[in-house]
Subunit: 381 residues, 2 copies
């Protein structure tokens, strides 16, 4: 039911196809995040329109509200939220550690208190899998612990638990219409990443996530860890970099062999009045756009850009109108989907190195840092 | 440029066509309200999809933010908000009296303080017209005073001002691509309504609004005032009942000869989690919908109803997701547009009396009051 076909490689970059019960994903692919069974401010038909094929939903949030059993009884997540394309759920672990309070972790699982109503709960690997089976996503995740990436003692302890929990998740998982991915941890430490990759490969998962990145380390550390980790993973299985989604990180991630990404970035910055463009992030709230007749991004073919001016969208933001969120969200997801499609086409054409270099040459990341080099096999090839 | 053709009458109910520079309105017509140059939580393409042909925008709000001169410089309201069908603006008077603070009215105009930033402003009839000419709507309104409808002394004083201001508005108006409507006031007093209608008819406006209703009087008083007022207006000009839009009021209004309506109701109740249906208003937030697989309104053909369950929309409301507002707004406007189309078809077919009676027989207004009778010529005809 789950088959990953590598169609082309260009340096480390890969173009592939991953079949799931809800359709075939063309990779590399970016998944917008639908935390509470809705990608914030975007309807399913808008998501289709801008080219989204995979979305992520959060196990922690949906377990707490409306409850995974309710979603199961309503026909599962696809039916509940009217999304008939592939869905990926996380394990709930990351949110337990970042959102819940009064956490107490032991070798068996984690006790925590709901951030919504203060109620007490416990997640174990088996519980996470049961919830994810109730939700019914196509791709589900092992329950893991995601520590501070540059605290070696914490990373080592978390790694041991993550591995033990991966074995238990594998054993607990019963639905063969779901692909359970293992999650490689190990922080920024190459030996721990290697140890983790080897351990999880032995369990033969249908796909592998790279966890514990984009959580506080530098960009250089993240890219170096990726470069070191992806070659340790089987070439014939999809690789998923969790929580990454800025335009420059997508390019750098694909250049290092990542197939699947997810991130709240396009939807979250939209709600702050910011637009992603090929030149960098712009804040439409800025006074200089008050009488600007141009679209958010000249040349963009999305509904927001073909219909409205920056001046109008700035007015909507200042007036706190919901349509501002709808339009910026639509544009931001459209840009990332377009970027992914362009990267895929470039890999298939064998021109990814040139494409990535050209994109990064004109894109200014937030804070305008010095450009980070692409992997050698792309820049010299 | 503005032509009103009466196509059919059925009792007092009228079906007509009103040509404007942005297209011909088929009446009776309901205008969703786009206070700040956006119908809250609905994009222009969604408004077209649900059948909206006319929308209202608020002069007071747009004058304060982003400013009528900015909108003029951006090509006018149609271009600014990307709505190429007819637009109606109010005069700003009602909002000055209901939203602004520190109001001081004199025979020349009104001083007030902005509810947004505390800045001081003054509206006069001439200023209201200048702002509305900058905004560039197809239908614009005379600056009027809307008093408490059952305080005769206040109504008499306001009426005198409203009439003097109507003369000044008529004189100040220069754009022949805008239809300036007069506003009949007079509270619940038949003699004052008659006096107002006669005064304004003498000014020969291309259309007449009935103001000062739905602002505190009883439904019986509103319907009685309508029954008494519409026959005083010229049959060959459109009649606009301001600020009215519950399903039962639309039916009762059409039955009494009204052609144009506007109201925030469908968008406002949507943001409170309520849906309008043919049976009455329902609150989707209610626990009884938590596992309800039915759409908001079974049989409804709108995107929300053909795609999502009450259970899902309830979850969106509880989780404070923007999509809840988008979907409920879409459904509510769709219902009112459908109702207007059905009433128009019934008038053209000569079956409006039966249609209205059947609709009211199954519709339960909020508070479940005893049914109000339709005008005699419909129920006995």
């Amino acid at each position: 039911m789950f088959e990953f076909t590598l169609e082309a490689t260009d340096g480390h970059a890969r173009a592939g196809r991953f079949t799931t019960p809800h359709g075939t994903l063309e990779t590399p692919v970016f998944a917008p995040v639908g935390t509470q069974a809705t990608v914030k401010a975007a309807s399913p038909r808008v998501l289709r329109e801008v080219g989204a094929t995979l979305i992520l939903a959060n196990t922690y949030h949906l377990y707490l509200r409306p409850g995974d059993e309710l979603i199961r009884d309503m026909g599962g997540l696809h039916a509940f939220m009217a999304w008939d394309r592939p869905i990926l759920t996380d394990s709930g672990g990351f949110q337990v550690f970042s959102l819940a309070s009064n956490r107490r972790i032991d070798s068996d699982g984690v006790d925590f208190v709901s951030h919504i109503d203060g109620s007490k709960h416990r997640f174990t690997p088996e519980k996470s899998i049961r919830i994810q089976e109730n939700l019914g996503a196509d791709i589900i995740m092992c329950f893991d612990e995601c520590p501070t990436p540059n605290d070696r003692t914490a990373v080592e302890a978390a790694l041991e638990r993550t591995h033990a929990w991966a074995v238990r998740c594998r054993a607990a998982h019963t639905r063969d219409d779901q692909a359970l991915f293992g999650i490689v941890q190990g922080g920024i430490y190459p030996d721990l990443r290697a140890q983790s990759a080897a351990f999880l490969r032995a369990l033969d998962f249908p796909g592998y996530a790279i966890g514990g990145l984009a959580v506080g380390e530098t960009k250089a550390e993240m890219y170096a860890t990726l470069e070191q980790t992806t070659p340790l993973l089987p070439a014939d299985k999809p690789r998923y970099l969790m929580g990454v989604g800025s335009p420059e990180d997508l390019v750098h991630g694909v250049a290092r062999g990542v197939d699947i990404f997810d991130c709240v970035l396009p939807t979250r910055v939209a709600r702050n009045g910011a637009a992603l463009t090929r030149q960098g992030r712009i804040n439409i709230r800025n006074l200089k756009y008050a009488r600007d007749p141009d679209p958010i991004e000249p040349g963009c073919t999305c509904y927001a850009c073909t219909t409205f001016s920056r001046a109008y969208i700035r007015h909507l933001i200042k007036a706190e109108e919901i349509l501002a969120h709808n339009l910026l969200t639509l544009h931001n997801i459209h840009l990332l989907q377009t970027l992914m499609r362009e990267m895929r086409a470039a890999i298939l054409a064998g021109t990814f190195g040139a494409y990535a270099a050209a994109f990064l040459a004109t894109y200014r990341p937030v804070g305008n840092p010095p450009p980070h080099p692409l992997p050698a096999d792309l820049t010299t090839g």
